[in-house]
């Protein structure tokens, strides 16, 4: 997807703009912590690549889990409804966890990818504590459900 001819040509054209070339390059390089914020860089493979490049300490396990998660994101985009994908952010913690997270008016949603063993989903609501959600997921877990939970809250 990322390296399709159309995409490269489009990016190249925009980058050559005298007035806004630099700005376009910045927008299109996908290296910031926000995903799906810019319609021009909504290619899921792009986002996955940028995360893999940005966090050099990722373990094999984390990379494998990330791949599984992004496969499900891609599945939602292609087979379900691309509008279901929403803005999310990512960071790497001092405990070497990779976090994918969303903050909205309903609460804080985290996917926590540990260096090994397991990943976790957490939803901490703003208001009703009863809506709190937390579960662990292992290599053979239901990643489709995880992806839906991540974007459904």
């Amino acid at each position: 997807m990322k390296y399709s001819f159309d995409y490269i040509a489009f990016k190249s054209n925009l980058s050559q703009s005298e007035l806004f070339g630099e700005r376009y390059e910045e927008l299109l390089d996908g290296s910031n912590n926000l995903a799906f914020t810019n319609p021009l860089t909504d290619d899921i493979t792009d986002i996955l690549n940028s995360i893999l490049i940005k966090y050099s300490l990722l373990t094999e396990f984390q990379m494998e889990m990330l791949n599984k998660i992004f496969n499900e994101f891609n599945n939602i985009r292609i087979n379900i409804d691309p509008n279901r994908l929403k803005t999310f952010q990512h960071s790497f913690t001092s405990d070497n966890e990779l976090l994918l997270y969303r903050i909205n008016q309903r609460g804080l949603i985290n996917i926590i990818i540990n260096p090994e063993d397991c990943i976790a989903f957490s939803f901490i609501p703003n208001a009703d504590e009863n809506n709190k959600k937390f579960y662990f997921l292992y290599q053979d877990g239901d990643f489709e459900k995880l992806a839906y939970d991540f974007f459904s809250n």
């Binding site: 929403k86 803005t87 952010q89 960071s91 913690t93 001092s94 405990d95 966890e97 976090l99 997270y101 969303r102 903050i103 909205n104 008016q105 309903r106 609460g107 804080l108 985290n110 926590i112 540990n114 260096p115 090994e116 063993d117 397991c118 976790a120 957490s122 901490i124 703003n126 208001a127 504590e129 709190k132 937390f134 662990f136």
Partner: protein, 206 residues
């Protein structure tokens, strides 16, 4: 929340005056800028908490963005806000330096992070136990809150983490909690949920 904070402030002033220790009872605090009502003096530990009680933690501003991302399980010093009828401090008091080897009075690059106690056990103590199987053995992690006054800060409290009875520190973190990822995740999520409040997220939209 606004009502709650106003209530807190009003009662804080009344109660703090009434709790001020008598002169000469706090010989160990040598920092002149620490208000008298914050000094420990001869006051005793209050060994229980209340649901709804606040804990004030000095933290970097980014902790408020996503508490899970930045919370540390080896740096869990707080000021307890106090009981409804015995308010112990104001949130900002946690920004005061209580170390004699620091040449400043207040942490200016930190903000106050508020944790809310949402549940307690039957003895009104905060103690959460988590278990994880690792290499065929059950590992037990405990997250426990203690009121531990220091000479210059009576409300000083600590959220302490133990693994199989051993206190987790910076030095042993990698060998203890660092290897127990499920327990660590559960504990961090618990603390993040105590911090996360709707008023912090009002400015965000999906």
């Amino acid at each position: 929340m606004v009502i709650s904070r106003s209530w807190h402030t009003i009662f804080s002033r009344i109660n703090r005056r009434s709790q001020t220790p008598e002169d000469g009872t706090q010989p160990k605090c040598n920092l002149g800028y620490i208000p008298v009502e914050l000094r420990t003096g001869r006051r005793q530990v209050i060994d229980y908490f209340e649901v709804g009680e606040c804990l004030y933690h000095r933290c970097k501003p980014e902790v408020l963005e996503n508490p899970y991302a930045s919370v540390s399980l080896t740096e869990l010093s707080h000021n307890r806000g106090g009981l409804k009828r015995q308010i112990l401090c104001e949130p900002d008091d946690v920004l005061l330096s209580i170390r004699e080897d620091e040449n400043f009075q207040k942490y200016k690059d930190r903000v106050v992070c508020i944790l809310h106690i949402k549940d307690l056990n039957q003895n009104n103590k905060y103690r959460k136990e988590y278990q994880q199987e690792k290499n065929g053995q059950t590992q037990v992690g405990v997250l426990e809150l203690f009121h531990e006054p220091v000479p210059c800060m009576y409300p000083h409290s600590v959220l302490r983490v133990t693994i199989n009875g051993e206190i987790v520190t910076y030095e042993n973190h990698a060998k203890t909690l660092g290897k127990l990822q499920q327990i660590r995740t559960l504990m961090k999520n618990e603390i993040a949920s105590m911090i996360w409040r709707s008023e912090l997220s009002q400015s965000y939209s999906s």
